[in-house]
Amino acid sequence: MTSVLTNLFDGVAYGMLLFVLACGLAVTLGLMNFVNLAHGAFAMAGGYVCAVLVNQYGWPFFAGLPLAFIAPAVIGAVLERLLYRHLYTRSHLDQVLFSVGLVFMSVAAIDYIMGSSRIFINLPAALQGQFDVFGVGIGRYRLMLIVICGLLTAALQLVLARTRFGSRLRAAVDDPRAASGLGINVPQVFALTFAFGCGLAGLGGALSAEILGLDPYFPLKFMIYFLIVVTVGGSSSIIGPFLASLLLGIADVAGKYYVPKMGPFVIYTVMIVILIWRPHGLFGRAAR
C-alpha cells in the first residue's frame, strides 16, 4: 500500500516537472500555432546556466534557479525578434525544418562548450534524501518540485485568466488583426509570451537535471515527451497540458514499477487512444 502512494507521489512529481518543461510549448504551439521543436533547447540552456553558476561559481541552488529562468527568456526574446517572428506565417514544415536546425546547432554548441558527459547540479543537503510520512517515502527534492510547479501552475492560470496581459494574449491569438485594431501591440505580446515560455522551459531544465540528467542531447531526447503533453492536453487552456502531464508522469512511473518491461507501451498507447478519441486533445478546441 505504501509503495502505491510512493509511486503516486513520484508520478505526480515527474508529471509536474514535465508540465513546467512543456507548458511553454503549449503556448507557442497551442496558442500561437508555431511548431517549435527547439523548445527543449531552451530547457537545456536553463539547466546549463544553473549548473555553471552553482557548480563553478558556487552560487546557492535557489539563487541559480531564477537565472535559469531569466537567461533562456532573454535568449528566447532575442531569437524571437531576430528569427522566429519571420516564420509565424510560414508553413508548419518550414517551422519544423527551422526548429530542428536550431536543435542541431544547440546540441553541437553545448557539446563543444560543456562536453558530452552528463552533468549534475550540486544540491543543498536540505533537498537530498527521503523522509517517511506514515511509512510513505517522500523524496525531499520531489516534494520541492511539486511545491514549485504547483505554485507556478496556479500563478500561470491566474495570469492568463485574470490579468490584462492574459486577456490581451488571448485576444491576440484568437484574431491578431482585430486585436491590433483594438490597440493591442500584437508582436510585443507574442514576443513576451514566447520569452516567458522559454524561461519556464529553462527553469524546468534546471529542475530536471537531478532527475532526468542533463547532457547535450536533452532537446532531442525529450522532444517527444513535450509533444505528447501538448497534443494530449489540447491547447484551449493550460489545464489541459497540466492534466496531461500528470497523467503521463503517473502512467510512466506506474508502468515502470508494475510492468517494468511494458513501460513505454503504456504511454504511447494512452496517447494514441486519446488522440483517436479526441483528435484535439483532452481539452482541445475543435475549430482551429
Binding site: 546540441v107 553541437a108 527521503q130 540528467g213
Partner: protein, 393 residues
Amino acid sequence: MFARFWLLSRVALAAATAGTLVVAPAWADDAVKIGLILPMTGGQASTGKQIDNAIKLYMKQHGDTVAGKKIEIILKDDGALPDKTKTAAQELIVNDKVSFIAGFGVTPAALAAAPLATQAKIPEVVMAAGTSIITEKSPYIVRTSFTLPQSSTIIGDWAVKNGIKKVASLTSDYAPGNDALASFKEHFTAGGGQIVEEVKVPLANPDFAPFLQRMKDAKPDAMFVFVPAGQGGNFMKQYAERGLDKAGIKVIGPGDVTDDDLLNDMGDAVLGTVTAHIYSAAHPSEMNKEFVAAYKKDFGNRPGFMAVNGYDGIHLIYEALKKTGGKTDGDGLIEAMKGMKWESPRGPISIDPETRDIVQNVYVRKVEKKDGELYNVEFETFEAVKDPGKAKK
C-alpha cells in the same frame, strides 16, 4: 517545375563532387593509416570522446612515427548506429586504404564491421564494446577493452564470500547487460546466493525512480547494478534520493556504474560501493599517475576506463607495427598482436593468443574519499583474468 529540378540536380551533383574531393585527400605513401570509428555524437558520445582524447594523448607522448612510418588517424563518427559503422568501415578500407580499423563504441557496431575485417584481412581493434562474443566473429578482431563476464563473475564470488545472501539486480536490457547479469548470477547462485528481484531497464531510460522503488521493496542485502558508462551518475543520484543507502542496500556490480569520469559528481551516497573492474584512476602505479596527470592537463577531467581502453588500443597498434617492422599485412599484424604483453595504466595486460581477447587483472574496489575527491580504491586483485565467457567452451 523542371527548372527547379534541373537546378537541384546540379546542386546535388556539385555537392556529390565536393563530397568526394573532401573525403579522399592525398596521403603520403609511407604513412600507416588507422580508421577510427567512434560514436562522437548521440547518447554514447562521451565514450567516443574519451577514446579519441586518449589516442591523441598517446600520440603526443610517443610521437607519430613508428618503424619509420608516419601514423595517421582518420576519425569517423557513427553515432553508435551499426549501419553507419559499416559504411564508415567500408569507406575507410576501400578509399582510404587504412591498415587498421579501430574504436567501436557499442557491440552491434563492432559486429557490423566484423565481416569487413575478415574479407579485407584488416585488424579490427575493439576499444570499447564489451560483449563476450565479439572476438569470435572474425579472426581479425582484437580487443583492448574488457568483457563484462570478466568483472561480473568476480563480483559474484566476492559477494558470496562477504556474506551477501540476497541480491536484487538492475541491469540495462542489452547484450552487455545480459552478459553481466548471466555471469554474475551463475557465480553468485553457485555460491549459495539468491536473486530476489530481477529488473531489466530499457537502455534509453530517463528516470530510474520506479525501478529503484522496486529494488527497495524487495529488501535485498545488496543490489547488482549494470548501467552503461555515462548513466552511472544518474543512477547513483536517484539511489541516494530514494534512501536506499540509508536502508542498507549496497550497490555492487561491474565498475561501469562508478566510472571515474563521473564519479566525483555522484555525491557521498556512492561511498562504500564495491565494484569489480579493470581500471581505477586511483590505481597505485607510477605509470597510471603520470597518465592521469597528463590526461587531466590536456582535457580538463579525469580519465575513465574508456580512455584507458583507447590508450591501450593505440599502444597495441604501435607495438604490432614495431614488431612487423612497419609491414601492414593483416595476418602479420594479427600474429604480432597475439600474445603481446605490456604494462598499461590499469596494470599488466596481455592479448590471449587463442582468443585475441584481452587478459587483465580485475580489481575489487571500494569508493572512498581521498583529498576531498571520490576514488575507486582497489583492495583486492585477481590476476590475469581471461574472458570467462570463452573459457567455458
